[in-house]
Symmetry: C2
Subunit: 355 residues, 2 copies
């Protein structure tokens, strides 16, 4: 299996002869297992999937390319026994996932651990054709549900009712789970980038930020649209929208293979700064999306990553004015040699709801 | 605030003069914050809630009894600075939550860390009256949605459609989020304790295991009922059901303050063993429920915990026969001095669906 081969290639550099995968998205990526308890041990020759009794049948159905083993003792001891049987002298593990407490138990069980960073994540960051097609299907589901939501949005409905309706539509579109609870924030609530849908009633002149995602075979999507509900004086709302749209356009236009991700962030942020709104754009410009809805690469001013072909991430600048409202526009892109291909197909012209 | 005082009482014993709370359920328990990024630092005199820009407004609305601080540097450095300002010489942290990677970064930033176990969890395990009322409301929501689901269950419908409908009903009953995706497994699928709803069509004679939970102000509930769809020969199904019901009854009856939780497990397991089915009951008998749907106490043969008054946990024995089906019956109980009070109110007589 190609993924395992790519993983094994890194063994020598890190002086390990086995690797322990505990992050469940990584477990799924490598083995196909979708359950919520299980881990992998991979050596040069062997590949073991370990889970508990509850997941035996599921593992037999899903797991490919790994021998299945059912745990029959405490997990740290189980791993110690596996190391003995497979002759592992130095076992790499995922330091971003493994807790300090579990680390301690493994050390106590005399497992020779080597904590490593982004060992599987560095593979996951580049999507293959199959993954890209899953991500596109995930976007399609998310978009089709959104189109069905639009007619329900009007003054008088509450954020919470609309968000609930939207989640139903997303599930009906085929998503088995959602990457996060739908964000649907109106008026002043839209100034909170991660607002929870409240009982606030939509009013004339509201900006409505809707941030949601879909799922297809475990692959997520993530997008945001901001709508305006018609009102007497909405010039400030429209201006804000146009600023964010232009910022997003500039970020997307600078994307190409090889660029530093911080430069993408700077393209959006620089424009917002020119307008004097940089204090109101507190989050990064984007993040990778795949089996996790937040994964590598990080697209922010703090990031030192370089962008490569077939990375998939969001571009989502925003401006949030406390007490007034906010705008965020978020698309997903896949990196090509000389440009970004925008995967999100929903229009970005400001949608005005008659109310 | 009483919770903070109980926490501080433990400082001396562990030789710490500050405690870092990173587990989000613990953050919510102590501060009221419901967002997904933030941590607490508590000393004898001070209590600090720290989050990033995105959650500032939400924190101001929700957090009580803590000074709010917005992070402005990398998290490990931020914590180091806080230790300097508050004069913390030895900072307790949650070793079951903190990753090894973050631990390393804190050590590198010269934070003097003392990893501890169950520091906040040992408070959470005993519920106060307010928490009990929230849990009861969470059960009520879950039960009212279940009653509305029943009329939809019939031969010809698929597991997935029913599960989807059920999740809608749960959200409509007021649950803002669900503790886990609804499990609805029929016929042979019911032999998988954690089956995902599939496209299998319900058939005559099926056992249908439904495992779900509700939510109220962050407090979860968790329950399971097993139904039977009328069929020509269902004597084995009925017998299995009666075994599990009796096992559950025995477990509940032995609960009292002071008992070892392993004895509760043994009461159910011993009975199932007498019948010769102990190989088909692979999971523990129960687990605590509160702000997390799986929390302390653990009720299993491996557990060494003792049960005390006002602990809340599930009692959920099951028998799973590969290829045939399964039965699980799960109630929530709160421990009183001499008995368990069963919180789940749904009937346990085998419900037979006409089909």
């Amino acid at each position: 299996m190609q993924k395992k081969a790519r993983l094994r290639k890194q063994f020598k550099k890190h002086k390990i002869d086995g690797f322990l995968v505990t992050d469940l998205a990584n477990v799924r990526y490598l083995s196909g297992f979708t359950g919520s308890s299980g881990f992998l041990v991979i050596t040069d020759k062997k590949a073991l999937f370990v889970t508990d009794f509850r997941y035996q049948e599921q593992a037999e159905q899903e797991v490919k390319g790994f021998r299945i083993k059912i745990e029959n003792t405490e997990r740290a001891k189980e791993i110690r026994n596996i190391c003995d049987v497979l002759g592992i002298k130095s076992l790499g593990c995922e330091e971003q996932n493994i807790t300090y407490g579990f680390y301690k138990r493994l050390i106590k069980a005399k497992v020779r651990l080597k904590p490593l960073t982004d060992f599987v994540e560095s593979l996951r960051i580049i999507k293959n054709q199959k993954e890209l097609s899953y991500i596109k299907s995930s976007i399609k589901r998310a978009e089709s549900a959104y189109r069905k939501l639009i007619p329900h949005i009007r003054t008088g409905s509450t954020e919470r009712k609309l968000a609930l309706k939207f989640e139903e539509l997303l599930k009906q579109s085929g998503c088995k789970l959602l990457p996060f609870e739908v964000i649907l924030a109106s008026g002043p609530m839209a100034a909170l980038p991660h607002a929870k849908p409240s009982n606030r009633v939509l009013k004339k002149g509201d900006l409505v930020v809707i941030d949601w995602g879909g799922e297809y075979r475990g692959y997520f999507s993530d997008m945001t649209r901001t709508l305006l509900i018609k009102g007497p004086d909405v010039s400030r709302q429209k201006a804000l929208y146009s600023y964010v749209l232009e910022a997003q356009k500039r970020a997307i236009e600078c994307i190409r293979s090889g660029i530093e991700s911080a430069r993408i962030d700077a393209a959006a942020r620089g424009y917002i700064q020119q307008l004097g709104y940089d204090d109101y754009f507190g989050h990064g410009t984007g993040h990778g999306v795949g089996l996790a809805v937040h994964e590598k690469p990080v697209v922010s001013w703090r990031s030192k990553e370089h962008i490569s072909e077939n990375m998939v991430f969001t571009v989502e600048p925003g401006i949030y004015l406390p007490g007034f409202g906010g705008v965020r526009i978020e698309d997903m892109v896949v990196v090509k040699k000389n440009k970004a291909e925008v995967l999100t197909t929903l229009p970005k012209k400001l949608k005005i709801i008659e109310g």
